[in-house]
Structures are given as structure tokens and as C-alpha cells.
Symmetry: C2
Subunit: 411 residues, 2 copies
């Protein structure tokens, strides 16, 4: 697979997180011989939080994770993730496979099965080869290594499907000795054949589970929920956040703790970085596009308008061509159904203002807009003239490459 033209230069150097051990294996779930299984074992007492797909037809592992978070005590001991098979639309057998995977890990580690989180990504509707997973687990668990930079990259690599590069990010938590590290995969917002969005984030801070969940939900809303490749939604999307508490810092047990906002900032930086890397790996993408909406009635409304623009096939094909077709932007604002004042609408393409007061600006220079659209990283800004809230959504262009990748026969 050709590396995305928008890929970062290299995988970042990621710090070790105390209380996280990693292992990967080539278990033979994928057809090609490459790593396809990741295990992360976390220290006793690790808090966990999760955000999952909105799909009404979620995969078995999503239902498993959701259930053990709802019924559990907020702690986790391990994560198992395979690529190559999504274990989605696999009926009762899929549920059994997921449980078998968790139980296998739990019995070797001597921990409860409901402390083992499971995620899968890959082809939909094919039986999960759980015998290969369970056969690989003992070796994996006996060969775990502490998390250090090479280990994170191997972990990120094991969960890839159509991704053209491995995705990792980190941020220190200012004023503490702790860090946040995350890995992710995703390239189409989903190609159910092979893709889905997974994000696994770890910190060595200790944080009470209910506080951790609020932190994760808030940060996902500003990152993974603000990106779109093709508007499609996976059956398997999963973001999990583990707080091991194995670092030197005392745990955060109150929302009054001043370190919480420092942690939140670091978490948001990591999730946004990972989310933007997914866009940089969008199927067929040649441009990284920020769509910023200002002047909206609420932040949610601003995000909905930005998403309408970012999802519009007509806007996305115009961007692919470098065509300053702002009429399509107006169309997409209109179709969002959100409050907008047509006669106050203003549009910018990069630094060039195109329209004001609901019509094209006198002196608008199409050449300047076209020059901006020739860049790899572009910005569309729209002020909808009804309030003072704003939001940004990130997307990519819609190209022949997308059709090429997604209109191929399954092989």
C-alpha cells in the first residue's frame, strides 16, 4: 500500500508509561503474514473509561466492553485487540469468541474476565478464528515488554488494517511527572471490509474512574467526533483510556484537583493528534482540510454545520480539484438544517474572504483562493451570523483514489 502523501515524517518517539506492558504477535488472523494481535497488560488498580460506536449494529467486542464498563468497578487489567477480523455481524458465535478471548487472558493472568477489554477490526461477517487468538495468547503473555518507544510502534502496527502508517502521539501532563500516550488506527472513517477507528490511550496518573470517563468523553467530542473521511460509521469504533496510577504522582480523586485540567489538556492534545493522523491517512486523501464554523447558535450547531460541509461529496470533490467552489459550501450550510442567517453568511478560503453578507465580496480574488487550495493543508471558514459559538471539523478531499480503494473487489 502506498504511503499517504499527508503522512507525518516518522512515528513519534513515545515515552514509557509505568504500569503498561505490551506484546504483539502474528496470530494468522490476517491473510498476509504480519502482526495482527496486541495485548496490553495494565497494573492492578488501573482505572478505565470507554467511548464506543453509535452504530445500532455494534460488533460483539463493543458490546462486551460496554457491558463490563457498565457493570464493573471501573478498573481494568488487560486489553486484547486483533486486526484482520471485526467479529461483527457474526451472531451468537461472535459473542462466544469475544468472551473466550477475555477468559483465556484472564485465566493466565489470574484476573477476572470482566477486567479484560477486547477490540477487533477487519472484515465484517466472517467467523472469528478464535482458536488462533487463544493459541497465540500464552506466548504473548509470557513475552511481554515494558512500554517503550519501539513497543508502542509495534503495538500501533499490530492494529492497522488499511492504514498506510502507524499512528501514535503523546503529551506530558504539565506540572507532574506523568504523561499521556496513545495509539490509534483508522483510514476510511470506516471501510467495513477492513477498517474502523480504534484509539487506546494510557497515562501513568491515577484517576478515579468516573472522573476519567468525563475526561475521555469531553476529549473524544473535540477530536475523534470532529473528524470525517466519508461520513460512514463503523460497527467497531472504540476508544479506551487507561489510567494506571503506577507513576510517582498521587491519584486524582476529586474534580477540584488542580492537576485535572493539566491532564485534560494533555489528553485532548493526544486524542486530537491521533484523530488528525487518521484524516491524514484518509482513503485516497490528497488534502488535509480544516472546516471552521463561527457565529453559530451553539458549539454543537457549529459542529453540525462544519460536519455537513466536511461530509458533502460536492464540497469534497471540489477540494480535490482545487476548485474555489464556494457555492457548494453555501449548499452544505443550507442542508445542515442548523440556524444560519443566509444574508449574513461570510466565507473564507484560507486567508482570502470570498463572501460577506450573503453574497460574493466585491474584490474577491479567485486566484488567491485557488492558490490556497493548491496547498496540502487547507482551511475553509464560514461565519453563519447567528451567534458566537464555533467549532472545527477535520476532513480530507474525495478523489479517484477513494473510489479506487473502495470499489475494488474484496480479495
Amino acid at each position: 500500500m502506498t504511503l499517504s502523501p499527508l503522512a507525518p515524517d516518522s512515528f513519534p518517539r513515545l515515552p514509557s508509561i509505568s504500569g503498561v506492558e505490551l506484546g504483539t504477535a502474528a496470530a494468522g488472523i490476517r491473510k498476509s503474514q504480519r502482526t495482527d494481535l496486541l495485548v496490553a497488560v495494565v497494573a492492578p488498580g488501573t482505572s478505565v473509561a470507554g467511548v464506543f460506536t453509535q452504530s445500532m449494529c455494534p460488533a460483539a467486542p463493543v458490546e462486551w466492553c460496554r457491558r463490563i464498563i457498565e457493570t464493573g468497578d471501573g478498573t481494568a487489567r488487560a486489553l486484547v485487540c486483533n486486526s484482520g477480523n471485526a467479529n461483527a455481524f457474526t451472531g451468537k458465535a461472535g459473542e462466544v469468541s469475544t468472551e473466550l478471548t477475555a477468559v483465556t487472558v484472564a485465566s493466565i493472568l489470574g484476573v477476572p474476565a470482566d477486567s479484560v477489554f477486547v477490540a477487533s477490526t477487519g472484515i465484517i461477517g466472517e467467523p472469528m478464528p478464535d482458536d488462533r487468538v487463544t493459541a497465540a495468547i500464552p506466548g504473548l503473555l509470557s513475552g511481554l515488554a515494558t512500554s517503550e518507544s519501539g513497543g508502542w510502534e509495534q503495538a500501533a502496527d499490530a492494529i492497522r488494517t488499511t492504514d498506510t502508517f502507524s499512528k501514535g502521539a503523546h503529551a506530558p501532563v504539565p506540572g507532574t511527572g506523568a504523561s499521556v500516550v496513545g495509539i490509534a488506527k483508522g483510514s476510511g472513517m470506516i471501510a467495513p471490509d477492513m477498517a474502523t477507528m480504534l484509539g487506546f490511550v494510557f497515562t501513568d496518573l491515577g484517576i478515579a474512574p468516573e472522573i476519567l470517563q468525563e475526561s475521555l468523553t469531553a476529549s473524544v467530542n473535540k477530536s475523534f467526533n470532529r473528524i470525517t473521511v466519508d461520513s460512514d460509521t463503523s460497527t467497531n469504533d472504540t476508544v479506551l483510556l487507561f489510567a494506571t496510577g503506577a507513576g510517582a504522582e498521587a491519584p486524582i480523586v476529586s474534580t477540584d484537583d488542580p492537576r485535572l485540567s493539566a491532564f485534560q489538556g494533555a489528553l485532548e492534545a493526544v486524542t486530537l493528534d491521533l484523530a488528525q493522523q487518521i484524516i491524514r491517512d484518509g482513503e485516497g486523501a490528497t488534502k488535509f482540510v480544516a472546516v471552521k464554523v463561527t457565529g453559530a447558535a451553539s458549539e454543537e450547531s457549529a459542529a453540525a454545520i462544519a460536519r455537513s460541509i466536511a461530509n458533502s461529496p460536492l464540497v469534497k470533490t471540489a477540494l480535490a480539484a482545487g476548485d474555489a467552489n464556494w457555492g457548494r459550501v453555501v449548499m452544505a450550510v443550507g442542508k445542515s438544517g442548523q440556524p444560519a442567517n443566509r444574508d449574513k453568511l461570510a466565507i473564507w478560503i484560507g486567508p482570502e474572504q470570498v463572501a460577506a453578507s450573503g453574497t460574493v465580496l466585491d474584490g474577491y480574488r479567485e486566484g488567491a483562493a485557488t492558490a490556497h487550495l493548491a496547498l496540502d493543508e487547507i482551511e475553509i471558514k464560514v461565519d453563519v451570523g447567528v451567534g458566537d459559538h464555533e467549532a472545527t471539523v477535520w476532513t480530507c478531499d474525495l478523489t479517484h483514489g477513494y473510489i479506487e480503494i473502495n470499489a475494488g473487489y474484496r480479495t
Copy 2:
């Protein structure tokens, strides 16, 4: 422009509608020298009904029509429609242009301005050359012809933009001497550069305006609102229905009139035929696709699920490739957010059942499904297992041709 491979063999022979006179002209609104202006003058006492775009940023003519329907007495005397310029996002000047057009027609005909309906389709955000419209109107009005088959085709031709063929349809009203005739345009569900969906339908029955509006709303919900090319929504979408009452039949003034259901059937046949012709002219379309959802909680829910499948870029690219990728169908059911029982889900590709009880069917023959997908006209059926309501949405595949048409520079 190459004729769509899904185009009908020919424009249908359409009957004359008493009380409708037609005229077309090349007014120079479009860059190329071709007809771009249509006037239809209807008999005194003609009832009118309309359905318009849901866009929050509608074009000036849409606002004009909406207003004269709301404030008027339910009758109309003329329709003026231009192609080449949408008069959308043109600020106050756009409103003045629309009114000027209506007033010009009204003053020559000696009728109130608010009995003259205006529609526009074409490029967004460029000033409307209303001087060319008003200059062409006197000649047009002095040269009107009764509506007969050739006239309908010319009328359908004058409102085309990116359409590769003219669209017309008709149906007799059983048990009466009356007919319903309609013309339409549209190829992308919208390409705001040049396209939008317009439908103009005429009958020689007389029908009270409030009854006519109910009839039109019901029939649009089952036809124009059940098609999608690319999920995008025009600023200009307009469907108008005129009932001249100039035929031999007594008017329908009560919903108890037994002829009303016959009329409704004819109207629905005409609007569905026109809507399906728009799909047959979908930008880059190579396949005409019916997506049928059964077993839903309500008809609206069934339609929402069908629309989610029909709009999914991943489903549409798979159909373009003839790939029986039913996993993407599951994904699209899931992302609709509508009630569905994953473990009762059943899927058919043409006559071949693919999945039952939430997993792939034993004995499913992928070859048979692939053979169906090689046809020009294909059907995807999904039973979501929660109720007994159903709906069908029509769409087309997503091909390199769509990218080609929409990623070109404006010229």
C-alpha cells in the same frame, strides 16, 4: 455531454393539458446558445400547490414561491423558469430580480404579480442577468403554443442543466377524461454549480387548493423525497403542481370525491417516474439501485434506514464495482440510528438471500449475488426485524464518473 447509460430510449409522447400554454426561448442566460427560459401560462382559476427545498439558505425564487403560496388565494396564472443561473446567494439583488421577472410577466398578462411563480437553476452566487429575462418575456408570451407533445419536450429541455436527457412523464386519471403530465430536471441530487431538482406537474382536473397541496405533499414524500444521488441538497429544489380545471370534468372540491384517489394514483405514478428518471441521470451513474427496507418500526424509519444505505459512499462504491459487500450494508443500517434488531437482520442482493438472523446464511452463493450486481438495475433488500413497515429509496452507484464531473474546474 454523454447520454447516461441508464437513460430511457426516448422522451415519452405526452398528452395536451387543457388550460396550459407553453413557450421557450434562448435568452442568453447560459453561456452556450440554447434554450434557457420556459414560460407556462395557465387558465384563470388554476389551483396551485408547492413543495420546496429544506435548505436553510434557499434561493430567492424559492422564497418568492413560498410566500405567494402562503399569502395568496391558492391560484396561479403563470410559471417562469430559467436555467443557467440559480439566483441563489445573490443577496437583496436576487430578490429584486425574482420580483422583476414576476412583475414583467404579470403586467403583460394583466394578472397579479403574486400569481406568477418563478424558479431558477444553474450557477450559485452570480448576479442574475434579469435584463435578459425581461427582454425575452414579451416575445415568449406573444408566441405561446398549446401544450402538446413536442411542446412538453421543448419545455423539459429548456430547464435542463447537467441533465443528459429531458425528463417527462404522464398518466391518465382512471375513470375521467383527465390526465397528469409532468416535466423535471436534476442529475446530481444537486451540483450547486449547475444542478438542482425541479418538477412541474399539470392536470386538467380542477382541484381545490388545500386538497391539491395534500395530494402533492403525499406524492413528493413517496417519490422526490425517496431518491438520492449524493446526499446533497439544493438551495433551489422546487416542485409545483397546477390543476387548471380546464378539462371537461367538474372540479374536485371535497376529499370524499371518489375521483380523488384516482387522481392521487396518477400523480404518484408521474412523480415517481420523474424521480426515477433523475436517478437514471445521476452524475456518473452506471447502475439504477432500489434499496428496500422491510420489518421497520415505521414507514419513516424504513425510509431513513434505506436512505442511510443509499447515501453511504462505501455501499455506493461497492455497487459500482459489482462487489457483494453486504458488510457495508450492515454498517449503513447501524449508522442510521433507527431501531433495528442486529440479531434478526436479513439481507438480499436481488433474489439471493445473503444473511439471516444477524449473520451470513448457510449456503449463501456469492456468485449469484455478484451476477445480480452485474445488471444495470439492481435491488438491495434488508429486513430489520422490528416491525412491519417498509419503504424503498432509489439511488445510483458512486463511480469515477461522479468524481470526474464534480472535480472539474468551473468553466
